[in-house]
């Protein structure tokens, strides 16, 4: 990575309306979920008298079937969703980069072993594993993060492996090798910097899919357990009231959509920003 490239990425990001919007949106969501306690409502406080109140001044997003403030629940739900997304992404990226670099750089039997292992994990349908694991493991935020991370590292590992294999044939790596630089030194000094763009792009896309996965899990009831809210479980509960209170589905659905979309847009812009020399006219 050379330093002027970072400037390019920055200007690409800020020069793109969509990119700015995505950044602002994500920042807003993050702040909102961090400062969720300021909403003035307890997300788990029941109030049967006010059940299924439509959105209005008292309850911005209305209330759900137990009369809980939907806005507060959305904020606390976002906390879980974003937390799961981020942490799972970091773990998955960590595993993926390590496996990918080792596999790509050393090659041979080690590469064979790691890649076959990866193939095996990839060949089992994701949801089957998710469901099985969530039956055996106690559903907690921590467990969900680990499960999601373990299901996501393979894609990034493949991309990193391929990129490492190209990088290690570059002449500056050959030179370092011929000069007696150790394998660890070469990876740290010459391979890793070249992988940063791939890692960043992979990581942003991973957050998006982790959030989706958590939502799907919670939607199916295998995620974080009631009464704690996540966007996915809120969507799940909304099913029964889709005719009477469609807003129950609309709010969490929209939040998931916007978050995932924002991360994907960011990933795309970063990918472009790291690559070409020409600008669009």
């Amino acid at each position: 990575m050379n330093r002027s490239k970072w400037k390019n990425v920055g200007s690409e990001l800020l020069g793109n309306g969509m990119g700015v919007a995505a950044l602002i949106l994500l920042l807003l969501f993050t702040l909102a979920s961090v400062f969720a306690f300021l909403s003035g409502h307890d997300p788990n406080e029941l109030n049967v008298m006010e059940r299924l109140t439509p959105p209005g001044a008292g309850h911005w997003f209305g209330t759900d079937d137990f009369g809980r403030d939907y806005f507060a629940r959305a904020l606390y739900g976002g906390r879980v969703s974003l937390l799961v997304g981020f942490t799972a992404m970091i773990i998955a990226t960590g595993i993926g980069v390590t496996v990918g670099v080792i596999s790509g750089y050393f090659g041979g039997w080690l590469d064979n072993l790691l890649m076959r292992m990866l193939d095996v994990i990839l060949s089992i349908p994701t949801f089957l594993i998710l469901l099985l694991l969530s039956v055996f493991l106690k559903p907690s935020v921590g467990n969900i993060i680990v499960i999601i991370a373990l299901l996501m590292w393979m894609h990034i590992a493949r991309v990193i492996r391929a990129e490492t294999m190209t990088l290690k044939e570059r002449e500056f790596v050959l030179y370092a090798k011929a000069s007696g630089q150790s394998a660890f030194g070469i990876i740290l000094k010459h391979i890793m910097p070249g992988l940063i763009p791939v890692i960043i792009v992979g990581a942003t896309n991973n957050i998006a899919s982790a959030i989706m996965m958590e939502s799907s899990l919670s939607f199916l009831g295998f995620g974080v357990q009631p009464p704690n809210a996540t966007w996915g479980s809120m969507l799940n509960n909304a099913q029964g009231y889709i005719a009477q209170a469609p807003y129950l589905a609309v709010f969490p659905g929209l939040l998931i959509l916007l978050t995932v979309l924002s991360f994907n847009i960011l990933g795309d812009i970063l990918r472009v920003g790291f690559e070409p020399k020409l600008i669009k006219r």
């Binding site: 990575m1 050379n2 330093r3 002027s4 570059r170 002449e171 500056f172 050959l174 030179y175 370092a176 090798k177 011929a178 000069s179 007696g180 630089q181 150790s182 030194g185 000094k189 010459h190 910097p193 070249g194």
Partner: protein, 302 residues
């Protein structure tokens, strides 16, 4: 020249790459990139290695740099075998044998500045420290026609020729004895090639360097080399002093290669450039031993 001692001795070098494997990991298809090559390089001389793409010339260079473990044969440097050595025992040789690669855009890590680039081999081999090291690098930069101000610049701020100068400075920073130059000028513009060739010649005279000069530009190779080896399909087909080789080529492949040299002279445009192509099979069973036709001039059977 011929009395000086032999620095690099390559005996029956073979490097085979596996192109396909069965499920047990046994090779089913083998590419014999280098198939029985022997030559010697004397101290202080430039040995040119020419051949077309796929002839195995670069693979020979990479075997000498021990970037590959070769399949068979022996390579000794200054009388010592470097073939089976592990990385630890190899380290002193890694300082004494340095390399310059072809692509000035890929041979320098884009994320490091000139100081960091040139100090890499110095750090590995623990030659000089801190300010001292910086001074030596600055002096080296001036030697290759760059300036002290360039220390903190990044590769993308330089032209192709300047980058190749940085590569040369990097290779020389640890005072090597032998430099493998793998097509060091092929990617450069004509007017810049001459700059780099002159510099390599000057540095050779000043530091007593020995070069292996791998290239496909025949007239430049003749200009810079004392002796030349011609490679074809993984084998050496002819070795001779450079003028002898160009004036009295024996092997049909060498002849075809030489007739394809483009003279920058319109008067010579009348002649046909191509001869009937020489086609020998790769990995044939023939003997890879060379015959001495006149003192110092060796030819393979054809």
């Amino acid at each position: 020249m011929s009395e000086s001692k032999i620095l690099v001795d390559v005996k029956n070098l073979k490097k085979h790459f596996s192109k396909g494997k069965d499920i047990w990991g046994r090779d089913t298809d083998v590419l014999k990139a280098v198939d029985g090559v022997s030559f010697q390089i004397r101290k202080g001389e430039t040995f040119g290695l020419v051949g077309e793409s796929g002839s195995g010339k670069s693979t020979v260079g990479r075997c000498l740099l021990r970037l590959y473990d070769y399949t068979d044969g022996e390579v000794s440097f200054d009388g010592q075998q470097i073939g089976g050595l592990g990385e630890k025992k190899l380290k002193p040789f890694r300082r004494r044998i340095q390399s310059i690669f072809q692509d000035p855009y890929s041979s320098l890590n884009p994320g490091l500045n000139v100081l960091e680039l040139i100090s890499e081999p110095m750090k590995i081999h623990g030659t000089h420290q801190g300010e001292d090291r910086k001074e030596i690098i600055a002096a080296l930069l001036e030697k290759v026609g760059l300036k002290r101000e360039h220390l903190y610049r990044f590769p993308h701020e330089f032209s192709g020729g300047q980058r190749q100068r940085i590569s040369i400075a990097r290779a020389l920073s640890v005072r090597p004895e032998f430099v493998v130059c793998d097509e060091p000028i092929s990617a450069l513009d004509v007017s810049v090639q001459a700059q780099v060739v002159n510099m390599l010649e000057d540095l050779q005279a000043e530091f007593g360097l020995t070069y292996l000069f791998i290239a496909h530009d025949l007239s430049m190779v003749r200009h810079i080399s004392d002796r030349i080896g011609v490679m074809y399909a993984g084998r050496l087909v002819e070795v001779a002093e450079s003028d002898e080789l160009y004036e009295n080529p024996q092997h049909p492949y060498t002849q075809a290669l030489l007739s394809s040299i483009l003279e920058p002279d319109p008067k010579k445009a009348g002649q046909r450039l191509s001869q009937n192509g020489y086609t020998a099979k790769r990995g044939g069973e023939g003997n890879s031993e060379l015959r001495e036709v006149s003192p110092g001039h060796f030819v393979a059977d054809f």
